[in-house]
Symmetry: C2
Subunit: 421 residues, 2 copies
């Protein structure tokens, strides 16, 4: 690593460690006051934030950034207000830190239980949305952690302005402003420095597209909580209620296209093949392109279904495109999911108890559903209050990650002088 970058990282890391120690012990009231104050400061400094954002938008214009990226980058009065409200919502969530559970007496006479504790220093790496600066920092603060934020270079002015508000609020509420640090450099080598600084950073959460997450995962020395693809399946079982199956399929595919919990492949049991044509018709009516297996193509008569290739089963379209496969059996559906799913979210539609129970048990995804739309895989819908991401990892936390996912549990032992015999 280049000396300049190493020095910057050491400073950031040491400051974060110091702040994490203080945040770990900060009481709930102080953390909530800081978050509420941050909301006020952001409202008060709205003009400054919008001016900074205008500089980013101007640079984006000049460099020819595409329209979707520019929309993510753009702030306006409503979006800044939404950021402030987000901070207040996190302030209103219960504080997970210090929660004690499962305290039990053991035969030795000691009481043993768990206490929930912060992870320490969390590195967040994200792309062009400036609101992540406020959202991610708020979740880290509420869960008693210190955050090191690294946003996309195209949002640097916006992020600086937002981070300055958060740090001002921390300072004014008597907490360490280094609990929120923004990497104030657009040098890409800083990402490499952050994800390998295992003496200073306890976990990295990348939020962004596949290439960002792949790079971070490949190079990190710090543990990563990551979200890869969302290739989600709906399986319509032989014993499905026809109307429910249609509703769930339509909702899972067409409620929003560009989201990770949208259905990408629909599996239909051959005994429910009568549902294929009406579902395809409904999808076509919504403007969804349909690609099907041979039996699907045969089942829909004259409807416009293109033949699906092997590649389709492995594709996260994030678009109005759907692949459909008719399967011989429950087992074939589960095998297809095991082969092609990204282990994000799958749902079964069935009235059959055994099929539903088996699906819940046998499908190994972060969310497994029975008679509900995949679109429910979301921290707010699950009651987490807020979400820093969705984990497709196996260790520590799977699925939507809220405040608890940013904590761990230590053991506590209460005795009255017991010694080991």
């Amino acid at each position: 690593m280049e000396t300049g970058i190493a020095t910057v990282m050491t400073t950031l890391g040491q400051q974060a460690r110091g702040a994490a120690k203080a945040m770990r012990m900060a009481n709930t009231g102080a953390k909530n006051r800081a978050l509420q104050l941050a909301a006020s400061v952001i409202r008060r400094e709205m003009n400054e934030i919008l001016a900074a954002n205008a500089m980013d938008m101007q640079a984006a214009e000049a460099s020819g950034l595409d329209a979707a990226l520019k929309d993510r980058l753009l702030l306006n009065g409503d979006r800044v207000e939404a950021m402030a409200e987000g901070l207040e919502q996190v302030a209103a969530l219960p504080d997970p830190v210090g929660e004690i559970d499962h305290l039990r007496y053991r035969p030795s006479g000691i009481q043993v239980g768990h206490m929930r504790v912060p992870l320490g220093v969390i590195g967040i790496i994200y792309e062009s949305r400036p609101n992540v600066t406020a959202d991610a920092a708020a979740l880290c603060l509420k869960s008693g952690n210190a955050a090191i934020l690294r946003g996309g270079s195209e949002a640097i002015h916006s992020n600086r302005a937002i981070a300055a508000c958060l740090r001002r609020a921390l300072l004014d509420s008597g907490l360490s402003q280094d609990a929120v640090q923004l990497i104030d450099s657009t040098d890409r080598a800083m990402v490499g420095a952050l994800i390998t600084a295992d003496q200073y950073v306890d976990v990295i959460i990348p939020r962004g597209g596949k290439s960002l997450i792949a790079r971070v995962s490949a190079e990190a020395r710090v543990p990563v909580i990551k979200h890869l693809d969302g290739i989600c399946h709906v399986y319509i079982d032989a014993a499905a209620n026809a109307e429910m199956a249609l509703n769930i399929a339509i909702n899972a595919k067409t409620h929003r296209y560009g989201v990770c919990n949208a259905m990408e492949t629909l599996l239909i049991h051959q005994d429910a093949a009568a549902l294929v044509a009406p579902i395809v018709q409904a999808m076509l009516d919504k403007g969804v392109e349909v690609r099907g297996c041979d039996r699907t193509v045969a089942a829909v008569g004259g409807l416009d279904v293109k033949p699906a290739s092997e590649q389709d089963w492995a594709t996260e379209y994030l678009a109005p495109v759907l692949s459909i496969r008719i399967v011989d059996s429950f087992e074939q559906a589960v095998d297809h999911i095991a082969a092609f799913s990204s282990s994000h979210t799958e749902t079964i539609v069935t009235e059959n108890h055994e099929a539903g129970q088996r699906f819940l048990r046998e499908v190994d995804s972060s969310s497994v559903m029975w008679n509900a739309s995949t679109r429910f895989a979301d921290g707010f819908e699950y009651g987490l209050g807020a979400e820093i991401g969705i984990s497709t990892d196996r260790l520590h936390v799977r699925g939507p990650v809220g405040l608890e996912g940013l904590t761990s549990q230590k053991w506590i032992v209460l005795g009255t002088g017991q010694t080991r015999k």
Copy 2:
């Protein structure tokens, strides 16, 4: 990686993935029967196991292995019987897999909860004790995982014999024998292959000395659940009960010396300095060498206390040696722990409610105790039934790791046809 090793690893990995898929769905009865059968097979094959162990002992003799290592390597009738009993004990533990908790209704009408699921494929890397082959495999099997075992090369014959018994029992109870695979090569490069095989292995658990764990942590691409040092502290507060303080200090230091949860440093509040001389006397009576800060040396009059160096505070003695420091305040004790502890286990002895509560909250170790000996930091004492190790990591699991530590939780959603509005 060398081609031969890569090929071996690919075969092991693919077999493990296949077995993990089957084990994930194996029911509790089948897993328990396999474990009970494994106990029978081990008892039946005792002579074979002892003959294999004799070959290892002979090689150890020839290569001049030291006495402590030879003792760890040695099997005899009692030790083989203990292995069989260990398997039966794991069979008797509750099965964590499939346990559903916190199932709640959400405003949308869906029910959301967690289901406990296996991690998948677990790589265990250990040193000379052959009993780890049976103990670790049993915990992996009961928690629905597949294990790839890599024991020390000095125990290869013993490990082969034990693994053969386990695989025989799996086969005879209708489960996949590849749920337990032993790396049948003493080539050290196989360790490198195992810890970087992130497409096949979900977590690595190294069990052994510091150098093994340091190497595995530095080189692994697979997540590691690791146990570094145990530099454990007892802090005798100003408000300690004198007799309790003496008992806990003696127990924490002298109950066993070579264990990770033994006390290495004793901190004593200056207002409790009257306890220093009697504790030192008791330690000396037990044959413990005492090294103290200047105030400790001054406080014990003529007793034999050597001056402690900075290095002493950072040393895991694993031996009859104790360092003692008199501190000015509760805060200084907590700061000393933050600076020198390995975050394994610390205890406070106090009758003061505020000091006890603050210690529990402010000390960031995997086990934090109040009026109990550090020696209780143990899976059996905590009620886990068995223990695969003690984690000093922050993510996923901290402290003693039992069956639950070898599992994760997925979300399950039960609906009646709900779609997202």
